[in-house]
């Protein structure tokens, strides 16, 4: 029996956005990436921007986002997505342009590109997945790894005396005149998903309205990198990540 035979149109209560294709995602169980991908696809579809969006993919776990969401994409070098987005948007000012970046990409190797794109007020949206670890390369310390948190490159826990404190990059870019909207969200509960979707929509609307740079940080889990079950990871995130990276709007003008 095929799925179309089971799911009769009159019984349909939900279907994923058609921009999310059938390619099987490579993400681990409990990972936040898949949920955020879906939200981005839904927002683009709902805003009618399917043919007017250019996404910039990162290096890191999100690298293959271009395989899953059927829009035009450019794959950037590690950390350089905001530089690509700068040119794409300036050369196509009527298009919606966004980057999708993880913490290593955005807040370590790409710090300069992030800060200067935000400072110039590029009319782009930045979706920032902060899971406090390098997922794709196997769980090394990220710029946002919490104090005392263990990783493959800080097996005794992050020592802030040696490697500095977790970088609160969203708070940093909120200080810049070029940013119009900076918010921190999560996708581990249903209300959280709804709030995150609203935030992504606002950021994308800002890009279309040429209001300046928007940054939506999604505080995320990485159950594989954290060596936890998805459920444990959600709990750990609430107890440890949220106090350091509190949710809510940091800036909205």
């Amino acid at each position: 029996m095929k799925s179309e035979e089971i799911i009769k149109p009159e019984n349909m209560v939900y279907q994923p956005t058609h921009l999310l294709n059938e390619t099987q995602m490579h993400y681990c169980p409990g990972c936040s990436h898949g949920v955020v991908h879906k939200l981005i696809g839904e927002v683009i579809e709902e805003m009618g921007l399917e043919n007017d969006t250019i996404g910039i993919a990162p290096v890191g776990c999100g690298v293959f986002i271009y395989r899953y969401l059927d829009i035009d994409w450019q794959e950037a070098a590690h950390g350089r997505a905001p530089a690509l987005a700068t040119a794409v948007k300036r050369l196509n000012p009527k298009k919606m342009v966004f980057t999708y970046q993880g913490d290593g990409d955005l807040a370590a190797i790409g710090t300069a590109e992030t800060i200067h794109a935000c400072n110039r007020g590029e009319n782009i949206a930045i979706v920032f997945i902060n899971n406090a670890i390098y997922g794709m390369t196997g769980g090394q310390m990220a710029p946002t790894t919490l104090p005392g948190m263990k990783s493959a490159t800080c097996p005794d826990g992050r020592d802030v005396e040696v490697t500095g404190a977790p970088l609160k990059i969203s708070d940093m870019v909120a200080l810049l005149d070029g940013t119009c909207y900076v918010t921190r969200q999560s996708v581990h509960t249903t209300p959280g998903v709804k709030r995150a979707k609203k935030a992504i929509r606002k950021a994308f609307e800002n890009s279309m309205a040429n209001k300046g740079t928007s940054l939506v940080e999604i505080v995320s889990t990485c159950s594989s990198g954290w060596k936890m079950t998805p459920d444990q990871a959600n709990k750990w995130m609430e107890e440890n990540m949220f106090p350091y990276f509190p949710l809510g709007d940091i800036k909205d003008r």
Partner: protein, 359 residues
């Protein structure tokens, strides 16, 4: 009649960019090429052609802005000088891997390291042998006059788009800074979005209605597919080597000896030819205009005619290796060079010819 102007090589690049309908220039100041960015800012082409000119936060950001622009099928370019080009190499490798057409101008200065701001040709290896990671090639044009600085901007974009490959104008501080007469190319309008859709249907301008998404990437984790990508690149490079070799010869018809030199060094050799011929030494010059693809075949032919060759380069001997490969041991090939920003004089070149080649 065409209007003849007097300007610096760097200024000619800037004017030619506007006149060739370039969509975006992204750069970072570094001597001896800052006049390119300054001239563009002073010309304010965003008011006339709509060209975007942006001073980036770094050379790294600038080359990645070029990637973003080129990925949309737009004419995008940057310029820098040696240390800045080193920073751009990551981006250049990605541009080659994603098969994106663009123009990079390198107004070379002496190195290594911070080196000097004086002219040099020491980035030959970096440019024609790779520089960045992976098996890629950069179409490389070497102007020897301000006129060629102006002319090669359009040529570089033509070749870049023809083959979907980045192109470089490899020049030096002499040609960038010296003033000469120049006839600028005629004004060409920027491509419209409709024209770009025809010329560069792969460009990300928003997914076409009813069409497939376009993806600009150099990533492929399956080694079997990645090898196929490499085979495709190599086939393209072979085509470029077969079709796009450019060079200029002077005084070769009766030559017993040959200078091989590009850019400024070729200009110096022209004077050296005069001096040598006054002494009865029949010497000519082959000036590669494309450093890659290299005029290998023609040099092999000339090896049947002349008794020896001398490459004159403002480096420790880089292009000489390619000349030796072309000549394949048939005749002696020697090198004479100055380094670190020093410029060889025509007299020195004639002495070197006598001492190293004629003996």
């Amino acid at each position: 009649m065409e209007e003849v102007k007097l300007m610096k090589g760097n200024e000619a690049i800037a004017h030619a960019a506007i006149r060739n309908g370039v969509d975006g220039y992204f750069g970072y100041p570094i001597t001896p090429q800052s006049e390119i960015l300054e001239t563009l800012m002073d010309e304010r082409p965003w008011n006339t052609t709509g060209m975007v000119v942006l001073q980036a936060e770094s050379e790294v950001a600038a080359i990645n802005m070029v990637y973003g622009g080129a990925g949309c099928g737009k004419k995008a370019m940057t310029s820098s000088s040696s240390p800045g080009i080193s920073l751009k190499l990551e981006g250049i490798s990605y541009l080659a891997g994603a098969e994106l057409p663009c123009l990079i101008v390198n107004v070379m200065r002496g190195g290594p390291g911070l080196g000097t701001i004086q002219p040099s040709q020491a980035d030959y290896f970096q440019t024609v042998k790779g520089g960045g990671h992976g098996d890629y090639r950069l179409i490389t044009l070497a102007p020897s006059s301000v006129q060629e600085m102006a002319d090669f901007v359009g040529l570089a974009f033509d070749l870049a788009f023809k083959y979907r490959n980045p192109a470089m104008i490899l020049t030096d501080g002499i040609i960038g800074q010296m003033m000469e007469k120049v006839v600028l190319p005629p004004m060409k309008p920027r491509w419209t979005d409709e024209e770009i859709a025809e010329i560069a249907p792969w460009g990300t301008m928003g997914k076409p209605k009813g069409g497939q998404p376009r993806i600009i990437t150099s990533l492929e984790l399956d080694p079997a597919v990645m090898e196929q990508n490499n085979f495709r690149f190599q086939a393209k490079y072979k085509q470029i080597e077969e079709n796009e070799v450019r060079y200029e010869e002077m005084n070769t018809e009766d030559a017993d000896y040959l200078f091989v030199a590009f850019g400024s060094s070729a200009r110096i050799c022209q004077k050296a030819i005069e001096l040598a011929r006054e002494e009865g030494i029949k010497v000519g010059i082959l000036r590669p205009i494309t450093l890659w693809p290299f005029p290998t075949k023609r040099l092999a032919e000339l090896a049947n005619q002349v008794k020896g060759m001398l490459t004159v380069e403002m480096n420790a001997g880089q292009m000489v290796e390619d000349v030796r490969l072309a000549v394949n041991g048939k005749i002696p090939v020697e090198h004479y060079g100055r380094m670190g920003g020093m410029i060889p004089s025509p007299d020195e070149v004639v002495i070197a010819l006598k001492e190293k080649v004629i003996k």
